[in-house]
């Protein structure tokens, strides 16, 4: 099937206007000997057939299992209104607001999104979003280098190992000096994460002071849901705050699309990558919104731009904004507290077979030590209907008997109890 409305009569008529004998003639700039014959692809399908095929593939996935897998991406409930609103064609099928007069919906939504992220993080300015949490960490690192004129970057062990790897991939040819640890001396920035990848909550206020004394910036990586209850990057003194926005109404979707969140102190806004919407007025004084500070961007600065990014995850940012609007401060706190309460309950319930090894309080996720290999325990629990967590040795963040367990507000007490019982048996 296809979605081409031209009839044979249309084509004939159009070719006459063009003055061409055939459609093929329009491709005459392409050397004949380089043109390709039939593609080696399957035959086309009509709508019922393609739907049926997709459903078959979907059934090849087992989303009926109860999962305690997190690692920066969490199985939170998505309110029905999020899907209903973001499916509207005026959002879904619009593009970048190049003509602001016919894109005020997009631009106001981005402005509101930026405001919501500032309010959530206690930071002064935010951009219109980046691709995901990992690229947001990378962009924060290069932003700190631009702001300080330094190229030493310090990545703390609390950082999600996937995002650490992404920083290394992206920075491979940038003459950055990437170090592990927390020493801010001569550094552009120190990057820390809260909660840490293994689940522990930290107060980085003292580190922020040490960074500032050394002329370095503190980049704080956050989980947006946690900020309903957990100390914010802004109140710790962070200069740049970045995070993965997936928990805010975005489906897990096997890896994306996700949402990179970025906020900073106002002093650094011109070093910030990505789009920024700003408020202004039209010639009659009516309030309106435009993309602003575009001189930082690639379509103007080309190779001197702050980043090559030329899009944002606008539809995902809209999902996050709608989620935050539906939840409000109270709903978001309810979600956060229920995540933490569930995690605390489970942590205690399984402590006799799988003691928690975090060296401080945790939020929605914690690390336990199992009596045997974590991969084996996870494998044994799959037939019983559970994916028990991430064996930390698989992501280079722990020993082979350590498991990272995440709990969201979707897990009922019954589910937690049954899972605990199954884990007890698997550990025995």
């Amino acid at each position: 099937m296809n979605w081409i409305p031209l009839t044979d009569a249309d084509k004939e008529r159009m070719l006459r206007v063009i003055g061409a004998g055939s459609v093929e003639e329009l491709f005459s700039a392409i050397p004949e000997d380089l043109k390709h014959g039939q593609l080696n692809l399957p035959e086309g399908l009509d709508e019922p057939a393609v739907r049926g095929l997709a459903e078959t593939y979907a059934r090849g996935n087992r989303t009926d299992l109860i999962s305690f897998v997190g690692g920066g991406y969490y199985d939170h409930y998505i309110p029905a209104a999020v899907d209903a609103l973001t499916a509207r064609g005026e959002f879904l099928t619009a593009y970048t607001p190049y003509q602001p007069e016919c894109a005020q919906g997009t631009l106001q939504a981005i402005y509101e999104f930026q405001s919501a992220i500032c309010r959530l993080t206690d930071m002064e300015v935010a951009n219109a979003s980046l691709y995901d949490g990992g690229t947001a960490v990378f962009e924060a690192v290069t932003m700190a280098c631009r702001a300080t004129g330094r190229n030493r970057v310090v990545l703390d062990h609390s950082l999600n190992p996937r995002w650490r790897e992404m920083v290394h991939t992206h920075a491979a040819n940038l003459s950055l000096n990437l170090n592990d640890g927390r020493d801010p001396q001569d550094a552009a920035c120190v990057v820390v994460q809260n909660p840490a990848f293994r689940g522990t909550l930290w107060d980085y206020s003292a580190l922020a002071e040490a960074c500032h004394a050394a002329g370095a910036l503190l980049v704080a990586v956050f989980n947006p849901i946690s900020l309903a209850v957990v100390k914010t990057p802004g109140s710790m003194g962070a200069d740049i705050a970045v995070g993965e926005g997936q928990p805010l109404g975005i489906p897990l979707g096997f890896g994306g699309p996700y949402l990179g969140l970025m906020a900073s102190r106002k002093a650094f806004i011109r070093k910030m990558p990505g789009r920024i919407a700003g408020m202004t007025v039209d010639h009659d004084g009516r309030r309106g919104f435009v993309l602003t500070l575009q001189a930082r961007e690639q379509h103007i600065r080309r190779e001197k731009a702050n980043s090559n990014i030329c899009s944002n995850q606008a539809l995902c940012a809209l999902r996050a904004l709608i989620y935050l609007s539906l939840a409000g401060p109270v709903g978001l706190r309810n979600v956060a507290e229920r995540c933490r309460a569930g995690a605390e309950w489970l942590k205690k319930r399984i402590s006799h077979v799988a003691p928690c090894v975090n060296d401080g309080p945790t939020f929605n996720e914690f690390t336990v030590r199992l009596p045997r290999n974590a991969e084996d325990v996870v494998a044994d629990l799959i037939p019983r209907g559970y994916v028990a967590g991430i064996p930390l040795s698989l992501v280079g963040a722990g020993a082979s008997d350590e498991l990272l367990v995440a709990v969201t507000e979707k897990r009922t007490l019954d589910e937690l109890e049954q899972f605990a019982a199954a884990l007890e048996e698997a550990c025995a």
């Binding site: 159009m14 007069e101 100390k231 435009v290 609007s325």
Partner: protein, 480 residues
């Protein structure tokens, strides 16, 4: 419209999320947030009305013809939305694939990616594909990082320069710079194609690669492309294909057959995944033989028993996405390719090129057409005639179109064409829609002569008139 924050009333809010039923020990003060975040407290109906209201202040493909050049704003089939919302895909945690024992739980999704990457490789005439890059610019970065790694592995230490034509998208030089290359710009010839002699002069042993868009942003197929590839390869420089304009040649000619070593696909353009106001998209890449070992990892492979597994290529540049890229975007593209099939995809290019040429033919007597009377999937016109006559500028024409119910073409890009109007109608528009658009353009051209002041006031029917961008930049207000 009021900001959603201004609609907030303390204590209102929704009750979607119940409070905690039993108490939990509070966090230590040093770890706790102070005041709660000042998020809106509004009812669900107010949220629905607010965002429905915002949506009505937007043009989208669903509501308006959207001939934005270089953006391929074609119809986004609803079947693609349906497959991408199947719970068997949306609810799938990507870290399940990290855990060998749990890989069996996501075989359907791994199969989709594996198939899509093979489809893309076949369409591109390449050896292998990778869905990881999360946008076109991100695909460019992945591509030039692979080129850098290729030269590093071969000990080509002197190769530090990337050749980029002056008609290229700004992302090309920005991506090359992010991969540590210096950029050497190659000018365009008066006929709109790359200046071949200037290219030859710029190509020396320091050149690591050449980034080309083909057809280029003037809407023209680069007729010297195979020769450019041959000369580049003589210097062991690799050829990058910017897939922004792939819709023009889909199934007609393959970048790999033209000599390109690496390319990205804008799945949101060619394969019609929705643009979503600017994202999310996908910049999946494909590579030829020279770069297969450098692809981002891990990659998905199919074992002898038919099961899908993960493997990291020998010289992989590493992970450029946290997992497999924008999977749900890829799933839409997979649906689109499955629906069209091998015979359907070339028809897309044929209709796209026919539509663009039709628009060019109808408008070339009313606006200056700098590159002759033939184009590929988009046509470039400009308003130099109107500007020279002291009438109106390209911007005025763009704004006047909004009042007539059409989204504007891309204006002032490419930078090589002054007062540029770049029109890409796409294959999903009917002849009647194109006629209506052309008639509006012709009427605007006439009005530019008769009453230019009227056009300078446009738009007058939108929620706001022309906005003060200088004020926005000088008196920065980007959050409340």
């Amino acid at each position: 419209m009021k900001l959603i924050f201004k609609k907030s009333v303390p204590g209102r809010g929704t009750t979607i999320f119940d409070p905690l039923s039993q108490a939990v020990q509070p966090l230590p003060d040093s770890l706790m947030r102070g005041d709660p975040p000042a998020l809106p407290e509004v009812s669900e109906l107010e949220v629905i009305r607010h965002f429905t209201g915002l949506s009505r202040r937007n043009f989208g493909v669903d509501s308006h013809f959207y001939p934005l050049g270089s953006c391929t704003m074609k119809y986004n089939p609803r079947i693609d939305e349906l497959t991408a919302s199947l719970p068997g895909f949306t609810g799938l945690h990507p870290h399940w694939a990290t855990i060998p024992a749990a890989r069996a739980l996501c075989q359907g999704a791994l199969a989709v990616i594996w198939e899509l990457e093979r489809f893309l490789a076949e369409i591109g005439g390449m050896k292998a594909g990778c869905l990881q890059p999360m946008a076109g610019a991100h695909g460019e970065l992945a591509g030039v990082l692979m080129i850098a790694a290729y030269h590093r592995t071969r000990g080509n230490h002197g190769k530090k320069v990337m050749l980029v034509p002056d008609s290229a998208h700004g992302t090309n030089p920005a991506s090359a710079a992010m991969a540590g290359f210096s950029v050497r710009t190659v000018p365009s010839a008066p006929n709109g194609e790359i200046d071949f002699d200037a290219f030859r002069a710029a190509l020396d042993e320091t050149v690591a690669g050449v980034m080309l868009t083909c057809p280029n942003t003037h809407g023209l197929f680069e007729r010297q492309v195979a020769e450019i590839a041959r000369l580049a390869h003589e210097q062991d420089a690799l050829l990058y294909y910017d897939g922004a304009n792939l819709n023009a040649i889909l199934g007609k000619v393959r970048p790999g057959d033209l000599g390109f070593d690496v390319m990205h696909f804008n799945l949101h353009k060619t394969f019609s995944t929705p643009h979503g106001m600017g994202g999310p998209g996908s910049g999946a890449v494909a590579v030829g033989e020279r770069l297969e070992a450098f692809l981002p990892g891990p990659r998905i492979i199919r074992g002898e028993n038919g099961d899908f597994d993960l493997m990291t290529p020998e010289h992989s540049i590493g992970a450029i996405a946290p997992f497999f890229g924008s999977f749900l975007v890829g799933l839409r593209a997979w649906t689109y390719i499955r629906a069209h099939g091998r015979d359907g995809l070339p028809k897309v290019a044929e209709a796209a090129v026919l539509n663009a040429n039709y628009v060019l033919a109808r408008l070339k007597d009313h606006f200056h057409a700098p590159f002759g009377d033939r184009c590929m999937h988009e046509c470039v016109l400009n308003a130099t005639r109107q500007v020279a006559a002291g009438q109106v500028k390209a911007l005025d024409i763009a704004k006047a179109l909004l009042d007539r119910g059409f989204h504007a073409p891309t204006v002032y890009f490419p930078l090589t064409v002054p007062e540029c109007l770049m029109i890409e109608p796409t294959e999903t528009e009917s002849r009647e829609t194109l006629d209506a658009f052309c008639e509006a353009m012709i009427e605007i051209a006439r009005l530019a002569e008769a009453d230019p002041e009227a056009l300078k006031q446009a738009p007058t029917s939108m929620p706001v008139g022309r906005l003060d961008e200088v004020k926005a930049a000088r008196e920065l207000n980007c959050s409340c």
